[in-house]
Amino acid sequence: MIGRVVKLEERAAAKTGRGADKGRILIERVAVTYGRGAHMHMAVTQTSLEIAPGEFVCLLGPSGCGKSTLLNCVAGYVRPSQGQVSIDGVPVTKPGPDRGMVFQQYSLFPWKTVFDNVAFGPRLAGKGDAEATSTARTFLEMVGLSRFAKKYPGELSGGMQQRVGIARALANYPAVLLMDEPFGALDSQTRAMMQQNLLRIWDEFGITVLFVTHDVDEALFLADRVLVMSASPGRVIADLTVPLERPRLPEIATEEAFVRLKRRCLDIISVESLRAFEQQNR
């Protein structure tokens, strides 16, 4: 019991230590083209965005519209063909521990135990063994998987693996958490639980979250702001504020304000897909 209190204080300290103004994402006139010559394909076209520290932003759009591409520019996996991304004024050139990453596919190291997966980041950062161990313990407890520390990822269910993935990404105390359809492969009940707990963690850390999804309900339930993307070429066509109160509970999905926002999103998407459809058939 005492141990738990201490750890919570530790976390609070980590949160305030970060400061409220870390994790500003600036995307300036970013465009990404894949391939060259006849195979050239514009995945994202001239996009500019600013995401404030501590904001929870969802990128919403149909699959193939360039959400992952844009997210990967922020992560540093994809180099924009034009423009640049910067975090707190520092241009992104490669992936780094200041940006935690959670993937859609299970991406835990299957040869490392759950514990070693979470402790990996702190160890790479040159933290001593004692500190890496206590950090890993703290984050495993936060996602409720302390009991599974010695298991291998393959012994865990999909939802549990994703929780370890979140713990692993946060163990470096990143300024930004990037999530690419992290709950896409989960069943709806697990998914609802994951969403709610993600919000709790986000609230606790005050971390900036950029979350990719193709699910309107998920975007509205989680985000402060929903950026709607459209395909061919991929770009942000709407920037909606979600003024729903927090903490949010699943029942919110039946509230009038939520339903109204959802209808707006769906309208934007359907107009856009109709346009894309006509364009394709021209």
Binding site: P95, W111, V143, F148, K151, L156, S157, N172
Partner: protein, 308 residues
């Protein structure tokens, strides 16, 4: 059970990621809920007994097959079966056992075995070190791969026997030429499997490591190498088989010691039971050494056995 979890979720989101909820999720819907513990243990008991029965049945069938084979061999040798292939010069199992027993009391017999083992140990460990290193480097660096691959493609189909004359010409001693042939035989499966393993490294794991702050070298140690290990282990296993195969080729044709020499010499000296003694030795030691390789690799692959 799921409904209960849902209610807890609504009432107290704080506790929904508790270990208890996790355990519930881990158990999955197909396992019985608490309170049916008796049924669970009963089910486990029956399935454990079934497994034991299946194992016993499998082993008794194997033993029976071996015994039947021995009996057939004895019978064919006894009646000097002549049916396109001839058994009139084939010794009976009893004669072979007798010969084995006699040799077991001679120091020279053990020298043959030890010398063969030494050649395997030297040639194979060299092949393992060089093969894994080459495979890892070739798997990661396209330039090195382009430089080395043509040689591998060209040399791989050449069987060990074909190397013998050149090996004798190239190497100062017969011993070193035999070790060279063992090395070559084991090398190719190890290199190729290692390359294959490196190529199979999931890109998402490399990306995950990058975002956690891993350098290229750290990615190599923590991601590429472990990802390649199952395939490397397979290569080492196959390589050991080929090493014995190559050793025998080398020993039959040159040298005065070794199991291969013993076997071939038995033919020249018309000691027919010894031929089969030699063959059995090769079979036993080949199997044992492959098993030893697998045993050595086991601790590194523990995670794989625990993955469902």
């Amino acid at each position: 059970m799921n409904l209960e979890a849902g209610r807890e979720l609504v009432a107290a989101p704080q506790s929904s990621w508790s270990d208890a909820a996790a355990a519930g999720e881990g158990a999955g819907p197909d396992r019985p809920a608490h309170g049916d513990d008796d049924d669970v243990s009963l089910a486990v008991d029956t399935s454990a007994r079934d497994a034991a029965m299946a194992l016993a049945r499998s082993w008794s069938l194997r033993a029976a097959a071996l015994l039947a084979g021995l009996a057939l061999w004895y019978w064919a040798a006894k009646i000097h079966l002549d049916f396109y292939f001839r058994f009139d010069n084939v010794p009976t199992p009893l004669a072979v056992a007798e010969a084995l027993w006699r040799h077991a009391h001679e120091a020279k017999f053990y020298i043959h075995i030890l010398i063969s083992m030494r050649r395997i140990a030297l040639g194979y460990s060299l092949a393992a070190v060089v093969g894994i290193f080459l495979g890892l480097v070739m798997g990661r660096l396209q330039t090195i791969r382009d430089l080395v691959m043509p040689y591998i493609e060209l040399l791989r189909p050449i069987p060990a026997v074909a190397w013998i004359p050149l090996a004798i010409l190239m190497w100062p001693t017969e011993e070193s030429s035999i070790i060279y042939i063992v090395f070559l035989g084991a090398l190719f499966p190890i290199v190729l499997n290692t390359i294959h393993g490196v190529e199979q490294t999931p890109e998402v794991l490399v990306r995950a490591a990058e975002s956690l702050g891993a350098s290229r070298v750290q990615i190599f140690w923590h991601v590429v190498l472990p990802a390649a290990l199952p395939s490397i282990a397979a290569g080492l296993s196959v390589g050991m088989g080929v090493a014995w195969f190559s050793l025998l080729a080398g020993e039959i044709i040159s040298g005065q010691y070794g199991i291969g020499y013993f076997t071939w010499n038995a033919y020249s000296l018309i000691q027919y039971p010894d031929i089969i003694v030699g063959m059995l030795l090769i079979g036993v030691f080949g199997t044992l050494s492959t098993y030893a390789v697998q045993l050595l690799m086991r601790p590194f692959l523990a995670w794989q056995r625990r993955t469902r």
